[in-house]
Point group: D3
Chain length 238, copies 6
């Protein structure tokens, strides 16, 4: 039934490749099937102006797509002179999600910026970004511990994200582009490793969805996220 | 317990004033307590370039806050030279929500733009915009029917929105600014008059929320939205 | 002869509604007939960089039109990414006019920003903005006196503005949109309550005007402004 | 009394150098004393979109200052990414003034753009731009007549401009920078060769001005403009 | 003597990985040592407006660096709202160089855009972009031939590029970042497979260079480019 | 053979007019035939942020063309809201070239900005800008010496620039617009008065060029630059 032949509750293969580039404090290529996002975490020893001298750190994210990461070439945002609404919305979501994994006071007065750049898109770039961004953030925090800049790990739990939706009337997990562009409902769920919700963003594209459909989707999401968190752990143990 | 003295499941007074300005095809001042948003619907006999000659209409929204609609003056976006990420995110949400109320083919090749400008803000400006925007959209559609430009009403249902959240550990309905700025979780829910979901956007600000908290919030939202839809009907009958 | 049936020297009804919104230190809805402008005055305890440590305050203005305040919807300036030439010209005029009412040294090192946002336009939005902006400025100054931040009132006189023009060969006072868009000459006059000129901006739209026409227009303006200043006084006494 | 030693009613030396550059259809260097502005008129065989197929032409102007035309270097507007409010205000004034000299229908469906670029500034750049811009416009119209693109001269009269003001209590003509920066009142007047007003823009910088001061200034302006128009004629006859 | 231990005339290892992403008509990851650039070529069946109906195609390029491709994170150009001067300069160079490889008339009225995005930077990103961009362009042209959109191959020769410079007084080939940031002279050379020059851009950073130094650098460049062209051929044969 | 009738190795008449405007510390009108560029050097007693407290000065350049300096009017960059790629490329080149003439430490913590504005273009505006910019820079440095702000002249040599190219198969010196727009190869060369290269930027427009053509062009450039440096000396001695 699914274009990929997957079962409704079946994730695509997930892969985290750490140390993907040599400059960043955390550098992770995350793959959800054919979706490939490079997540680079940068430590900056300054916080934004509105946080100065408050004893707290900050975590933020930026998101971009390479112009030909998609089937049709998209105009380069740098050339158009601004980031579009979708880009801003996604990078705000990534930033909020990753901050939920960190005790910002424990980070000290420094900022970690997680750049999520989509190399190849096939649906789910924002959920891959959050899931891979967490691993990059983890590596950047390890770097700070190793350097002795902080003593105690400020991470308070893992964070991961997956999309769920209703495709041809059936709730499905981890939509690829073929599904995403035809789904009746599309929902992005962010959770932590304590099985609690950080973000739930559901949108009816075709028809409004009912409570029982919402429950079915959230159930799928929970299982998918458990799987991603296991993969994150394996990658970080590697 | 609530700063306003309201019960957890108690909405603020809601008011829709139609024909608020004289130029727009639909012009509604919506008030959720002290939050006041002017929603003006404009009919344009052209659709955006990417929709031309496809036999379908379009509904879109723009959102803005007057600089001193808030307690601290915000910089004017026109002077700063761009709309911020929050503004873009909100106007995309309003647009998607209102499109869910319309059969776009039935609208013909024309566009309705709903401008939501916040005159005074006290929490819930996006949910008020959606709820008031629907009434303005309704009046613009009536205008088209009256003018004979369309024969059949393309509206397929009412749309309304309310915020819910967890404030001091208790799920509450329709957060005002005092609550919103201190809520642990904040969720905006958009539903139609068939009791189905169009958008669910929940964010854990302080701590991640559990399934039972999500269910409690959605239950409150459902009741609030029923109340708003009743008020919309009364205003449109007036 | 005038589309509205008014006499050549007859103003439209003028109304000032103070305390129109709850956040601003001065908040006035001014109406010149169907023209409605919301003037919000904000006190900021900092001056612009070029005035720092000079012992003087500053008064500035910003102007905007809601997209559907006019008969045809105008593009939102925040979305277009810049304020147009007309907007900048008007807000510079409002700022200069209001500064003429204030002893800036007496204000102390703080700035008052007067935001003039047009809710509904029917000609004369800039003259209404100046006239209403003065009342909002007055309320903001009263707020500073009440708070004890300044001891002595730095206002040195009232300021008001009206348009005059030549419509179908006849000098007329306070042009509405129907007249303004067909006037041969259009002049905006700003005066103080000592009967002296602060700004005179006359433009020949159709044919160049002669000295005697200029004199006739200035005579009308003087009477109109006296009427507005009386209305300002009544509102401030209210 | 005047820093330059001029009499109150004395203009600076005025000079128009035609054919100053070789590419433009009209190219005039205008000098009012040390103020030097290059006015280039360009004929474009297209009108702006909103005028297409209406049988009318258009005249517009753009204004700029070389960064070091002034005593302190000003930031280059192209580098800052936008034209400032003063620039937009001045180029709108120049455009309106020059259009008053032309029968736009007689121009045919083409546009003349007059670029006024300030090479050296010493007060009065906008009045020099209008006065020199008229000569450049005249040459561009002659070019069209010579090329046989139009048969009948669409110019309906000369246009010139001068500043007047009140300096140390005395009405003076054609203010240079030393006066302009200290004037109590500053007024730019645009007139045609029929002794009628096209624009009057007076601003009280220091103290509000009275009717008799206005009259005195307008009298000076009339004489100054007559002198400029004589110089324009001499240059065009040359 | 060189930080990398290379001989003065020794290139870094060069690698071209074709079909690196799945959407683009040509997709090549090029590596010059640790410098990694993704070159994606997109075929667009339209040409820019100024080329329409002229019977010719076009080849253009865009260039960008991922924010953390460098040792210090660079601000994202899309977020800053414009491409910097260096970016524009480089993408103009890449475009000119690639156009030199193509008979544009033979391409038909279509455009090929080559996006060069730097994944990891270690000196020589522009020369790698040109060298890899040529392979991506080649694959896009092959795609057009395979699709039957063009009959005859419009490529008229291979194009490759390398940097040369003077490091500690010695002419060296293919500078990495450690050399580039300390070189006295830096030169980028673009040549075709007929041993002729397409671009020569030499800059004295520290001291001006003499004719014999120029000759020595050009000699090194010639050898390096022959090596790159051999590697391109091997990759395209693969 | 050349449109102008010049010999292949013949420069256009070169003229430097110093003290062209009255405000700038150095103000030079440079003419290469009909190409006229105004070069104004401004001394600013501050350096850019990244140079503060480093004991070094800075020299930078900005470049612009008046809209009708060219045969076809170009859009004003200030109105378009950004400087184009060509502009940025040229002003970066001018800045680098002029810095090669100065010992920046000897300048002290101040910046000299050289504005090069093209009054009339006929090919070679960038080489004229560098050559004239050097004279303006020299005058600004003399100003600093005269004012006693620096004791020792930080200029370490003269800098000049000329274009060379291959026109109808023949290497020619100092291309005018008629040649430049039809040249097969175009090269800009910047040299100092010690006969050494500062910049070499050659581009094959039509066909790739061979080593012997490069040598012929560089030979012409050397002679042209010697001639320009002699003219600079004469002007500075004048």
């Amino acid at each position: 039934m699914r274009p990929s032949g997957r079962q409704p509750d079946e994730m695509r293969p997930i892969r985290f490749t750490r140390h993907y580039t040599k400059h960043a404090e955390g550098s992770v290529l995350v793959e959800f099937g054919d979706t490939r996002v490079l997540c680079n975490a940068t430590v900056d020893e300054r916080v934004p102006p509105w946080l100065r001298n408050k004893g707290s750190g900050w975590v933020t994210a930026e998101y971009g797509m390479l112009p030909r990461s998609t089937n049709e070439r998209m105009a380069r945002e740098a050339a158009r002179g601004k980031q579009g609404g979708r880009t801003l919305e996604i990078q705000r979501l990534i930033g909020r999600s990753l901050r939920a994994a960190v005790n910002l006071e424990g980070l000290g007065e420094r900022q970690i910026t997680v750049d999520c750049d989509v190399i190849q898109a096939d649906g789910g770039t924002r959920t891959a970004s959050i899931s891979g961004g967490y691993v990059a953030l983890h590596d950047a925090v390890e770097h700070l511990l190793r350097e002795g800049k902080i003593r105690k790990n400020p991470l308070i739990g893992a964070v991961a994200s997956v999309s769920v939706g209703i495709y041809q009337g059936v709730p499905v997990l981890d939509l690829d582009y073929a599904e995403d562009s035809n789904a009746e409902t599309d929902m992005n769920v962010v959770m932590n490793d304590a099985n609690a919700f950080i973000e739930v963003q559901g949108t009816a594209e075709g028809h409004a969805f009912r409570m029982e459909e919402l429950d079915a989707m959230l159930g799928l999401a929970r299982n998918g996220i458990a799987e991603i968190i296991a993969a994150q752990r394996a990658a970080l143990a590697g």
